[in-house]
């Protein structure tokens, strides 16, 4: 255990020092690693710990992004306060989807498909209702100042992403040592047994999806504030859902550090393949190379390391 603690301290020190040592471009890459780890963790809490695999987690991400952006642009709210509203909205959507699907008894792949459907419905709605400005998307006026949740120096957005990531790690850590977390794992492992042992499966699943939705929505606002622009394709696009699921699965679903390791790995591949494509002429037209490598990697991991990269670090539980 102390080895893990030591690694955490070293990792944290490296993460804090990183933006002071590297050019701005790599600061942004680091920011993306932590940001993706954060939204990946929001998926992991529901999909990894509680086993409620979602293919449409982006619905929460987009809800958060649109809620804070609309409140800010249309209603003149301060973005920090709008951020809180965005989390509440994400939690509410999580609650709603959970109540609807779990009341109907949807499990496993049926639940995954219904979340995908919700995300698509939200995307189409965002495309067609007037208050989201439809397909044109929404632009947040650039006005860099910390009070405005906009930063001139990428170092601050980097540290904010790091902070979010740390908070998400703490939440996941708390899950591994609390009754709520134990119940989620029980539900993942065997729903009937969980019910027989006094667990209100429905209530716990609703709780976890509400929490996960609120977290993911926080990521949506963060993203909108970083790029100052959202449209239905960005906010509710399937690729973000896949990204969240992928980093968790690659790193290790249901583990504390899985999403972070997955995010680190995928962003690493992204950067390396981009660099390769720029120096190896033969690869110039293979675009995007990173997706091909992701695909191969996912196949390898599903086939060889179904518990993700984390299982390389963990000592196997003792067998009798």
């Amino acid at each position: 255990m102390s080895r893990v603690a030591l690694l955490c301290v070293v990792g944290l020190a490296a993460a804090l020092a990183w933006p002071l040592l590297v050019p701005n471009y790599l600061v942004t890459v680091g920011m993306l690693v932590f940001f993706t780890a954060f939204i990946g963790q929001s998926w992991n809490i529901a999909g990894g710990f509680a086993g409620q695999t979602s293919f449409g987690h982006v619905v929460f991400f987009g809800t958060g992004a649109y809620t804070s952006t609309i409140l800010q642009v249309t209603w003149g709210w301060n973005p920090w306060i709008a951020w809180i509203a965005a989390m509440a909205a994400g939690g509410a959507v999580g609650w709603m989807i959970a109540v609807l699907s779990f009341r109907a008894g949807l499990r496993g792949s049926y639940f995954a498909l219904i979340t995908l459907a919700f995300a698509e419905v939200f995307r189409i709605l965002a495309n067609s209702v007037p208050f989201t400005k439809g397909g044109l998307g929404m632009l947040i006026k650039a006005d860099p100042s910390p009070a405005n949740f906009q930063f001139k120096d990428p170092i601050w957005i980097y540290y904010l992403a790091l902070l979010l990531c740390i908070v998400s790690l703490l939440i996941a850590w708390q899950l591994t040592r609390s009754r709520f977390g134990a119940r989620l794992v029980a539900i993942r492992e065997n729903e009937d047994a969980a019910r027989a042992l006094g667990i209100d499966v429905f209530a716990e699943k609703v709780k976890v999806l509400t929490l996960s939705g609120a977290m993911c929505a926080a990521g949506g606002t963060f993203y909108a504030q970083k790029y100052l622009y959202i449209d239905p394709g960005i906010a509710f696009g399937v690729d973000k859902s896949v990204e969240m699921l992928l980093v968790s699965m690659v790193g290790g679903a249901g583990t504390i550090f899985g999403p972070l390791i997955g995010s680190f790995t995928l962003m690493g591949i992204n950067e390396v393949t981009r660099w390769l494509a720029s120096v190896v002429p033969a690869l110039k037209n293979v675009q995007p190379l990173s997706l091909i490598v992701y695909g191969i990697m996912l196949i390898l991991i599903v086939a060889r390391l179904p518990d993700g990269l984390m299982s390389l670090f963990r000592r196997r539980p003792r067998h009798a």
Partner: protein, 242 residues
């Protein structure tokens, strides 16, 4: 303690349980036997809230619990185990049992301590770190028992905890069940292993084709004509007596 009155449950056209009644008094060990497909497990599942009965009532300690959700029945003090064991495969035995213990405490250390105590009671002290998936059949049966016990029940419904065990293991688990009763837990058990039923249960109910056909002490049941015929076929009682 437990009163089951005229419970019926059908699946499609099949009447799995047909107006079955039974009583369990506090402190008893009661057996429920019957040929394969008699409806024992369905009756159990209905009592424990996993199926809603088509007709009939269940009351536990004087309170009506018919149709309540399983988690509420468990919280009321009655818990079932599964014939086909349902371990939480990916987590350790300790964590498995802790899930049960968490019913009464949110404190992790307390739950862990309780899990260890229960593991001691069912003879799993040396397997606490093993994963649920790595247990033998006997280990899984014990784990079912341990998890259920950790919820602190007053009535335990055991569904064939001895099926698939070898004679030594059966002797061991019979001892474990005796200890559980001695600790003040009332037990209703479905069992196929007759030797175990006769040595454990004070009273036995016999279910056949969804109907309760007999009730009495194990000795009386073994001599009951309807019971012998249910197991061995029509006319068997006469042949045996000849």
């Amino acid at each position: 303690m437990l009163e089951v009155r005229d419970i019926s449950k059908s699946f499609g056209g099949l009447k799995a349980v047909d107006s079955a009644s039974l009583d369990v008094a506090s402190g008893e060990i009661v057996g429920l036997i019957g040929p394969n497909g008699a409806g024992k497990t369905t009756l159990f599942a209905t009592i424990a809230g996993f199926h809603r009965p088509d007709a009939g009532t269940v009351s536990f300690e004087g309170k009506a619990i018919t149709g309540l959700a399983p988690h509420r029945i468990c919280a009321a003090g009655m818990v079932r185990t599964f014939q086909i064991t349902q371990p939480f495969a990916g987590i350790s035995v300790r964590e498995n049992i802790m899930v049960g213990a968490y019913l009464h405490t949110a404190d992790r250390r307390l739950a862990a301590r309780e899990a260890e105590a229960v593991a001691g009671l069912v003879g799993m002290k040396d397997q606490l770190e093993q994963r649920g998936a790595d247990l033998t059949v006997a280990g899984r049966k014990r784990l079912e028992l341990a998890r259920a016990l950790a919820t602190g029940p007053r009535l335990l419904l055991l569904d064939e905890v001895m099926a698939g065990l070898n004679p030594t293991e059966i002797v061991e688990i019979v001892g474990v069940i005796r200890n559980i009763r001695a600790a003040g837990v009332t037990i209703l058990l479905i069992e196929h292993v007759m030797q175990a039923v006769t040595s454990l249960a004070e009273r036995v109910y016999v279910l056949n084709q969804g109907r309760m056909i007999a009730e009495g002490t194990p000795a009386a049941i073994a001599d009951n004509e309807a019971v012998i015929e249910a197991y061995l076929g029509h006319g068997a009682a006469k042949v045996l007596r000849a």
